[in-house]
């Protein structure tokens, strides 16, 4: 039997971003591309191929698994164990009460203390979390948003107590509130004062903690909430632009802080689409920072990112398959020129990772770095007809999508009105329908399904006793601290919050006096109020 080669008999393939893929690509597809202008050498504008000239030849990507659970002491042990296994940086998971500025004794924190991350109520906890970990050698990513200012202050005081000057402290506060309104949902205050807090942190860091990334814009969670890869990049860039605008309005120069902007992106789905997404994103971001904001320093124009395997691609069914998915996601991440990698572990469709699952993720990245030749040469997919063509197409689509947001008056307006939330949830619904109908294949879910299977992975067990331990500790701290110092700091903070004063020095004072996270957040709630959620439905 002769196989048909007629184009009309070949099934149409469309990527999630809507781009139609031809069966074969050739020189004609990239005829208009100019290497110098459109692609450029690695480390050179427009940075399509990577932000450093030598990339992994010089240094492998940073490996930073998201971890934290229970108490600070337990988390400290896990940190040290991961570092002992060759992990090169930390990525801290806080429990939901901490992320939402609630102390462990708050009635609304019930059942959540220490569940999806570690519980931090006061400086005391953070001191324990980083005991024996030298904060000038290890960079730390603090996954916290509306109360990032408080956690940053605590972290800086811990460094100070270790005798490390702030100039030497390296790390990142996630501190991306706009994406919290779109997905992930740990928001507290209304949009405007939340953006102001981000501005305060950027301003404070640019003057006092120069090696710290004050925010990391997360396309990741937007994609996890259902967005396409194009929307992921477009919305992340529009969010970053909103923060940049806030900082520029304070009189800072773009080159004072743009080199410290970090991004956090998601990886799952079509391999080529993801690689092209990152190459297109790097090029477009460089253009935006140079052309629109007039940056002079090339470093300001570089898209620095953590790109990790996303939970969105993992399945509850046949959970060991997620180990394989994670390995492919890590491969994509390395082929995309990421700076930092983190992988969701195979059990993350169930809960936070077990020790074993975290180790497999770490080893996955190490195998890739040390066995597979991924570090040999920079951007090995460059020059591929398909990849270069797709990079162009993705860039065009991202620009189009950004335009829609800008026509609405920018990201702040688009989030306040619920427009973005609506777009993302509609996309999530469409994607779910495609999976349920089988149009989009998901192995173990709608193809090669195994009946009567029982998931038999060993998963992390939540310890309900953590809440009691934290409550006891809070009582002790409140008994030991100097109450008038706490009151002074909190009233100073309130005044700063009510005016244009930078809140950071006041938070630092509060943290040092062992004012709790909940007490500090309460001051902000009293002054700023709370966010009213437009669901976009």
């Amino acid at each position: 039997m002769k196989e048909s080669n007629k184009p009309e008999e070949i099934k149409e393939i469309r990527l999630e971003s809507g781009i139609k893929v031809k069966p074969v690509y050739g020189p004609d597809d990239i005829r208009d591309l100019n290497y110098e202008k459109d692609i450029g050498q690695p480390g050179e504008y427009p940075f399509t191929r990577g932000i450093h000239p030598l990339m992994y030849r010089k240094r492998p990507w940073t490996m930073r698994q998201y971890s934290g659970f229970g108490t600070a002491r337990e988390t400290n042990e896990r940190f040290k164990w991961l570092l002992g296994q060759g992990q090169t940086a930390l990525n801290v998971a806080f429990d939901l009460p901490t992320q939402l500025g609630l102390d462990s004794d708050d009635p609304f924190a019930e059942e959540e203390v220490g569940r999806v991350g570690m519980a931090i109520d006061s400086l005391k906890d953070l001191e324990e979390a980083f005991a024996d970990i030298p904060l000038d050698k290890i960079s730390t990513s603090l996954t916290i948003n509306p109360v990032a200012s408080v956690m940053l202050a605590m972290y800086l005081v811990v460094a100070e107590k270790q005798g490390i000057p702030w100039e030497e402290v390296r790390g990142t506060t996630q501190n991306d509130i706009l994406k919290e309104y779109i997905g992930r949902g740990t928001w507290i205050f209304p949009v405007e004062p939340s953006i102001r807090l981000i501005g305060d942190i950027v301003e404070f860091c640019s003057k006092n903690v120069p090696k710290f990334n004050p925010f990391s814009v997360c396309g990741y969670h937007i994609r996890e909430s259902g967005a396409t890869p194009v929307q992921e990049m477009a919305y992340a860039f529009e969010i970053a632009i909103a923060y940049i605008q806030e900082v520029l309005n304070r009189g800072l120069n773009i080159d004072d802080f743009a080199g410290r902007i970090a991004f956090n992106f998601d990886i799952y789905g079509n391999l080529w689409e993801q690689v092209a997404k990152f190459r297109a994103g790097r090029r477009l971001w460089a253009k935006i920072i140079k052309e629109r904001f007039g940056a002079k320093n090339p470093r300001s124009m570089t898209l620095r990112m953590i790109a990790g395997g996303g939970g969105g691609g993992l399945t509850i069914q046949q959970p060991e398959n997620n180990i394989v998915r994670g390995a492919y996601y890590a491969l994509i991440s390395a082929l995309s020129g990421t700076q930092t990698m983190a992988l969701c572990s195979y059990d993350e469709a169930y809960t936070i990772p077990s020790k074993k699952a975290a180790l497999i993720s770490l080893r996955t990245m190490q195998i890739l770095a040390d066995e597979m030749g991924l570090r040999d040469t920079v951007d090995p997919l460059a020059g591929s007809y398909y990849i270069e063509w797709l990079t162009e197409e993705m860039e065009k689509k991202i620009v189009e999508c950004m335009k829609k947001v800008e026509e609405m008056g920018g990201m702040i307006r688009a989030v306040e009105s619920g427009y973005i939330q609506g777009e993302v949830s509609r996309q999530a619904y469409n994607q779910e329908k495609k999976i349920q109908s089988g149009e989009t294949t998901k192995i173990g879910v709608n193809k090669y399904v195994m009946e009567e299977e029982k998931a038999e992975v060993e998963i992390h067990q939540f310890n309900p006793k953590v809440a009691e331990q934290q409550k006891k500790k809070l009582v002790e701290i409140k008994n030991q601290r100097n109450e008038s110092e706490v009151k002074d700091a909190l009233s100073g903070l309130k005044k700063a919050a009510q005016t244009d004063d930078n809140v950071m020095p006041h938070i630092l004072k509060g943290v040092k006096s062992y004012a709790t996270l909940g007490e500090i957040t309460r001051v902000f709630k009293d002054v700023f109020g709370e966010f009213k959620e437009p669901t976009g439905l």
Binding site: F108, E112, R115, E180, G185, S425, A428, E432, Q436, E533
Partner: protein
Amino acid sequence: MSEKRIRVLIAKPGLDGHDKGAKVIVHALKEAGMEVLYTGLHKTIDEIVGTALEEDVDVIGLSVYSGAHLPLSKKLMEQLKEKKVSDKLVLVGGNIPLGDVKVLKEYGVAEVFPVGAKLDGIIEFIKRRVGGHNERI
């Protein structure tokens, strides 16, 4: 003769911010012709029960991904019992381990739809359990 549309409250109790699943269900139930209210994030069980009574819904769907589904569902069922409310169909969805399904049903939850549950199955279940009682002239 007109048929009263089934009224559903999709609720996000507690601190968990994963709302993708809840919103997908809202879209699906609306498309199936139901009237759907969505609470938004960070609601207490008190608030959810209050809204359910005020809006006179037929179905309460709790969506939980943080792992706190057992205590939250228990609290909801206790409150409904206290208020002598027995005409609400309670469903739970989210990141629910298979072993917890039985426990949730013992609390009085009518059905559990973990991640990956078929949308058609959820719609059909609601229509079967609520639809018949709601035909009014």
